[in-house]
């Protein structure tokens, strides 16, 4: 029943839909750039991550990898699992793991004497980014809409930016031999879509936000929640905010 109905849709409905929204569909999914309704000055992108919603499924890592053809063994986003034992006498270091960036999720964890939780990571798209500061040629930059990008045709591959990033978000792409990183799915968000990781997060733990949009839920979230960024003492102007982040997370 379902299938036959879908068939009718694909054959008959396709024409109808393409006639009405065809151009938009092509824009949303297609290769050619839009006629440009997108204005750089109207946006300031970031993300909000709720630790209490992350289930460590690794869907974001897989989605990112597929959307952006991330080379194997490198990660634009990854998930860490923290285990912090109860501290009776000595202060113990947290036990952290991220098997292959959690691209296949995590092996199940038996209950421990203490707390455990998942922490998704990605480029913090810092406003005062140390990686941009050190780039000798201007191959990496903060775009006017607040996304830290790399110009693949201009990067020398000196990797000074990789050293300067406090969060370990950059790597040298083994094929292009230029530095690569999370683009906050710039090719998607500038066409009205959300990022691949946010789109595919089953629990809504990740939310793409636009600080310049007065109607964006980010404003309500920041007003009513206690949030934190990673390594705030680095003063990088990180724009990926975390709700319910434990102090032990680095």
């Amino acid at each position: 029943m379902d299938i036959s109905r879908r068939d009718i849709f694909t054959v008959g409905g396709k024409l109808l839909i393409l006639a009405s929204v065809g151009a938009t569909l092509k824009q949303i999914t297609g290769a050619e750039p839009p006629s440009d309704a997108y204005r750089l000055a109207d946006h300031w992108w970031g993300m909000i991550i709720d630790i209490d919603k992350c289930i460590g499924c690794g869907n974001c890592v897989r989605a990112c990898s597929k959307e952006n053809n991330v080379p194997e063994g490198f990660f634009r986003t990854w998930v860490e699992r923290y285990q912090i034992e109860d501290q009776i006498k000595e202060v113990k270091q947290p036990r952290v793991e991220s098997p292959n960036g959690a691209i296949d999720g995590f092996p199940p964890l038996a209950p421990i004497d203490g707390k455990s939780f998942y922490v998704p990571k990605l480029c913090n798209h810092c406003a005062d980014s140390p990686c941009v500061q050190v780039c000798p040629v201007g191959a990496t930059f903060v775009s006017p809409d607040g996304v830290v990008l790399v110009d693949q045709t201009y990067c020398l591959g000196c990797r000074y930016c990789v050293q300067a990033c406090p969060y370990g978000c950059r790597y040298l792409h083994p094929e292009t031999q230029t530095v690569d990183k999370c683009t906050l799915c710039y090719h998607r968000i500038t066409k009205g879509l959300t990022t691949a990781c946010c789109e595919n997060c089953p629990t809504g733990a990740r939310l793409l936000v636009d600080f310049k949009n007065p109607k964006d839920p980010v404003h309500e979230i920041l007003r009513t929640n206690k949030v934190q960024v990673l390594k705030p003492y680095m003063a990088t102007g990180a724009k990926v905010y975390y709700e319910n982040l434990d102090g032990a997370v680095r």
Partner: protein
Amino acid sequence: MIPGVDGFMYPNEVELQWSVLIVLYPYITGLVAGAFILASLERVFNVAAVRPTYRLALLTALAFLLVAPLPLQLHLGHPERSLEMYLTPHTSSAMAMFGFVYLWYLTVVLLLEIWLEYRTEIVGLAQSTRGLKRWIYRALTLGSYDVSPAARRMDEKVGYAVTVIGVPSAFLLHGYVGFIFGSVKANPWWSTPLMPVVFLFSAMVSGIAAVMVLYVVCMKLRKTAIDMRCLDTIARYLFYTFVIDFTLEMLDLIHRTYESDESFRSLDFMVHTRLLFSHVILQIFLGTLVPLFLLAANQLWRYTEGTRKAMYMTAGALTLVGIFAMRWNVVIGGQLFSKSFLGYTSYKMQLASREGLVAAVLLMILPFVIFFVLVKLLPPWQGGKAHEA
């Protein structure tokens, strides 16, 4: 678990980004800066005893300076794009600014000073030699054959001025290399305002040691008597700078240990495990304490000429190894621990790859080849007369 990794590394941190070639880069620029400062001792600070090494030091500096950008170049993912560093230099980047400091130092300081120093000989050789050599010397005269006493006096004055500019330039050159590392706030092993100063003094130590060793080796090869007054003086200055260098390094160590900030547990563990050999044994013990002891003994007691030579050569060679270990510990050590302070990775040096051991060894031989050519072209042995400051 990933082989070579203990604890937790951010997944992109497992592979080191800066290899042995980036160890060579501060090592080589350090030798340049140190050798130049030794040369300026004679010229600016009137230490006449080191005159026999003046020209040798200049040529050493030039030979190493010409090689200095090569390890960087070879390390780049896209060496063909390196010119962008001069086309669109990013003013907030220490690395971009280094390009200009390098050019300034190469052209305005070193080449000019060498040209002025050798001008009389170049003009003479342009007239006395034949064939290809004649053409090379004629090009080097830049078309001027005026070596009248008045013109020579002018060269002296300008040369002095160039050396005076050269000393802060040499400081700048290597201080800048230190700043490239010292300004990375994400990396606590690097991030310290002492880094440029420590780099500078270790540069002077390595440069002085290199010229000292080169001088003795050259004299042995030429079967010429070694000027012991010169050698003693160089050793004395090596001792002074080494004391300052060691004090600064210990200050850094004590400060880190006393403050014991967030990174300390991680760095302390690293020094006691993965860096134990290269840091504690090579850098601090063999590369610093032993040569310091040998040099200090010469300040306190009098030894025979043969013993002194042996002690100086041992101290010089160990110093060169020690400073190399220091660069290694900074560059490689700074990448062995996770910025999460929760784990460690390891560096597996490749052998025959673009950034491997063979490339590094060849790059270390190259300055000596250049030095050999320079010595053939501009013999440093005749310059016995001291400069009039």
